[in-house]
Each structure stands twice: as structure tokens, then as C-alpha cells.
Amino acid sequence: MYRYDEFDHSFVTQRTEQFKDQVRRRLAGELSEDEFKPLRLMNGLYLQLHAYMLRVAIPYGTLNGRQMRKLAHIARTYDRGYGHFTTRQNIQFNWPKLEDTPAILEELAEVEMHAIQTSGNCIRNVTADHFAGAAADEIADPRPYAEILRQWSSLHPEFSFLPRKFKIAITGAPNDRAAVQVHDIGLQLTRNEAGEVGFEVFVGGGLGRTPMIGRKVRDFLPEEDLLAYSEAILRVYNRYGRRDNKYKARIKILVHETGLEELKADIEAEFEKIRHGVLRLPDEEVRRIEAYFAPPPLEVGSDLSADVEARRETDAAFAQFLAHNLNPHRVPGYTSVTLSMKPIGGIPGDASDDQMDVIADLAEQFGHDEIRISHEQNVILPHVKLSDLPVLFDKLVAAGIAEGNAGLITDIIACPGMDYCALATARSIPVAQRISERFGAAERQAEIGELKIKISGCINACGHHHVGHIGILGLEKKGEEFYQITLGGSANENASIGEIVGRGFSSEEVVDAVEKLVDTYMGLRTGKDETFLEAYRRVGDEPFKETLYGAA
């Protein structure tokens, strides 16, 4: 894992001291709320419906046991005993007191964590594939590049007041698990014919009220140009991005309004000016950062042992877990394990302080002290020995995080919605809970197969509903919650934006509507191998419309 150097330590400590003083001045009446609000937001502190909310950055979703234990401690000491993992691989605490936040930031700094750039119109936490450094299909570990981008973008003076927030995602595998095409900049690691590592670069993807798939601006960006090219994109955006209307201020609108070719030319022109300057990445610096992410020493092991196979035959929950929650590891004998933060009927992404402590212990005991947070709001132990799976599974069962539902219909992304969020127009979590209960039976969800449901409580789309195979958007209509359904969205390498299927549904109706869609799919699929998304892409929306609204 990356370790802070002196510069990192000093800027995080400085910022913590600065914020401590700002809170003091606010409470003393020296700063008004209007003056204080942008300062607190720069430190990840929001004011939501019921309380303040502190969003803590987990760079590219990677942390260790000590850091996870600190998050548990913060949840226990300063909050109400839980935290919430987000779609930016971060964690949110929902109940901190303003006067406690300087102490929380000090505690975080002790374990090289902070809340800087988790809000505001700046470059946000760079996200990455949660199986980075472990996945069998990986070209290269994306995290060294994410770390280089983090260092470049942290407190970057030129990009601290962008027209709007800016999100970067990077994946090192051809199977995109980081949703790079729906980010302001999406980076897909690739190799050229000479075998050198570089990036396919996408610009202008995003969700929110105007969902768009990113447009490719480079087929192959050499490694050494990563920062210069990123800076060129940001400069063009900073200069031409709209500031007159916050709803049209993201780079996707600039791409759309300017046109891809003209914008590409602008980026290339800017890039030409700076590519030979200080931003050119020296090879030795990339290798130095890479060394921090060196994989743990893993001895090649064997396949599942006869004991494990025997248990699979007799223990249905264990079999379900093995079938869905393991991702192929590049080293034989190992696997990456998804700890489901989606218990049946539970709150997607919530973890109690005790669960966080357990995760920290298990990571140290079974996972070479590495933990990942996925943008799908789950927790991953990336390097687990296959032979440790039975004992690990038992411990996960005891902690309530062993549901074998990764990638299945109950593995739902949901934003906090109107239970917490000041912007929301409807609740998301209770809808997720009811869907989870409806489809919770293990055999049923396994039979349905891969199906991603994503739920947002307003058009800002924090729950990624546009890229759900089934997307649900909560709105308010005549004072009542009301849910619009989209079909056919996807955030992988074949990204697509879901299409609205028809008129929306009341809170009472929406789970039945989802069930009708699922039953329709089950009836028309060519076989178990054809997923919901594949079936939808084959047949279109007519059969689904018909089941929801009757024949036209």
C-alpha cells in the first residue's frame, strides 16, 4: 500500500489544523454560515436532513486493517455505531457533531486518511477496479496511476474551483468493473503493439440529470503522458466549461455542446504545450510508486481441496457464497472475496463498528492486510487463499456479511435517499430493502442470475440508476413518492444508459413492477446463460412494457 511521505503528512496535518481553527471561529461567531459552508465542504462536511455528514476519502478504495479499525473507532466514538460505504469507494458518517469534526480529522490523519476533496468543485477521489492488483484478467494494477493522479490533483491550485465537480476512474482490466465510461475522465489500461502500458482515454461520461457515456479521445496514451494529458483536459474544461448554470457545468455538457472533434483538438493543442514540461512522468517515479503496490508474496497454491468441495455439496449457503462471491485471482490457489454489505432486507453499504473491526481482523488474518471498498458498496479481501475459505466464511456468517449474493438481484446499489439526503425527492433504501426481501431466497436469486438493480432518490443519480440493468429513480409527484423504472443500463466496457420503460409507480407498486420484469425475463430468456441485460438487448423493451402496462 502507498505510505504517506513527508509532504503528504504535512499537507494533511496543515489542513486539519486549518479546519480546527475554522470550526473554532465558526462557533465563536467570527465566521458566518455563508463563509463557513464552502470551507466545511472542502473538508467533506455536509449538513444533511438530520445532522452533519462527514465523507472520508478512501483513495481508489484501498485500505488496511489499521485504517478500517480507525473507521470503526470513529463510528463508535463520534457517531452512532455505523458507517456507510459509497459509490465513490468512500465512507460516510451520518451523525458527527460539528465540534467533534476536528478531532475526527486528527484521528484520521493518524492513519493517513482525510476528507479532503470529498466534496466541492474539485477533482474527487479517484476510483479504481476493486480487484486491482489481484484480478486474473488484469493488464496492470491501476492503483499506482490512481495514486499518481491523487498526488497531482490534491490541492491543485488551478483545479480547486472548477465549474463543477470532476470524477476520474481507472481500470486495469478489459472487463471494466470501475464504470470508467460514466466518469468525467475514464482511463482503461491497455498495451500497444510494442507491449508498452498506456491508456485508452474517455472524456465526458457521467450520470446525474443528463446521463452520457464518455467519448473516446485517445486509443493509446503513453504512460509518461498521463499527467500532462489529464492536465490538458482539465485546463480545457476549466476554461470553457459553463459556469452560468450548475446543471450544465459538467464536462459532459462541454463535450456535447462543443463537439468531440473540436474539443479533442483543444485538448491536443493544450497537451502539445505542456507535454515536455514538468508533468512528463519519469519512468523511475512510476516504478517507485508502483513498488508501494507490490503484490504480497503469494505462494502458488492448489485448487479447492476435497474438504472444501465436500462442504460445498452439503452446505447450500457456502455453495452460494463460492458460486458468486469469488473473483478469479492471478495467482493459482488464491481468490478475491466479496464480503456482502447487502444482507437480505438490510441497508446497502452500511457497516456497523463491530463489523468493521471484524473486517480489519479478517484482512490481517486471511488477506495480507488488504481491504477494498467497491463502488458497488461491498467490501473485498483481494488476496485470500482458497484453503482458508471455509474458516473465513464461518467468521463472515457470524458477522452477518456472508450473503452469497454478489452480482445478483439483491446486490443493490442505493443512494441514501430521503432518509438522509437534503437533495432527495424520495426514499431509496426502503425500496432496496423490500426488493431484497422479495427476492431474498437463495435459490431464486441464483436462478435469476446476474442482475444489477440500482436505485437513486433524485435525478442527481448517486445510486447510478441510469446504468442499472433495472434502474429505479425516486421522484415526488403530488406529495407522494413515485418511482420511474429504466431498463438496459450498464456500466461495464459495453456501457449503456437505461431507457425509461413507461409511466412510474407508487412506492406500493414498485416492487411488484420489478418482480413482473424479472418474471418476464425468466420467461423469455434463451437459457440460464442469457443474463437479464443480454435478453433485454436481444428483445428490446416491448415484452417488458407489455407486462407492466398491458398490450399497446
Binding site: R80, K97, I347, M418, E481
Partner: protein
């Protein structure tokens, strides 16, 4: 009918303007205002409380009265008054509000 609501500066807790211009954390104790004039005067009290570092973001909201007491018209305000519907253990104790 209207009540005035805000969040308390120190801990972010949802509060309402109650008797004697105190900020109370149970909706049942909120003072109700009828008509534009009374609401405007109450918002002036709230503005002073903002200046005094007691609260942030005050605004007026519609309520009705039924057998349970004061009931916000909008769902959002019912949730603010009661706490997250997903965490019954964190519901405001004194609030007699149905969501």
C-alpha cells in the same frame, strides 16, 4: 399553518422554533404560525438565531393538526421530524410523528 425549522449549528440536530423563541428538538413543542405576517415575524426571529450561531438554514414549513399532534404536510419534513425510516432506533424519542 406553519412552523419554523432549522438545524442546530453545534450538532446539526433538527429543531423547530418553540415557545419563548427557544429552539426545540421535538416537533410537538413547536410553535405554530398562522398567516403571512406571523410567519414573517417568526423568520426574523430565526434570522437572529442564525446570527447568534444557534441554528443554520431556517425556513418555514406547512403543518396540519390531527389526533397525533402536529403533522408536517411534506414527507421530507415528516422524515426530518422522526429520523431516518430505516433506523427506528434513531427516531427522535419525543416526536409523535408518523412518516
Amino acid at each position: 399553518m406553519k412552523v419554523i425549522t432549522a438545524n442546530r449549528l453545534l450538532d446539526g440536530e433538527v429543531v423547530w422554533l418553540g415557545a419563548e423563541d427557544l429552539w426545540v428538538d421535538a416537533l410537538i413543542e413547536a410553535k405554530m404560525f398562522d398567516g403571512k405576517e406571523a410567519t414573517t415575524a417568526a423568520l426574523a426571529v430565526a434570522a437572529q438565531a442564525v446570527a447568534d450561531q444557534k441554528i443554520v438554514g431556517p425556513y418555514d414549513m406547512d403543518v396540519t393538526i390531527d389526533e397525533d399532534g402536529i403533522v408536517p404536510v411534506r414527507l421530507r419534513e415528516r422524515i426530518r421530524a422522526a429520523g431516518p425510516t430505516t433506523h427506528p432506533q434513531f427516531r427522535k424519542q419525543a416526536a409523535s410523528v408518523r412518516v
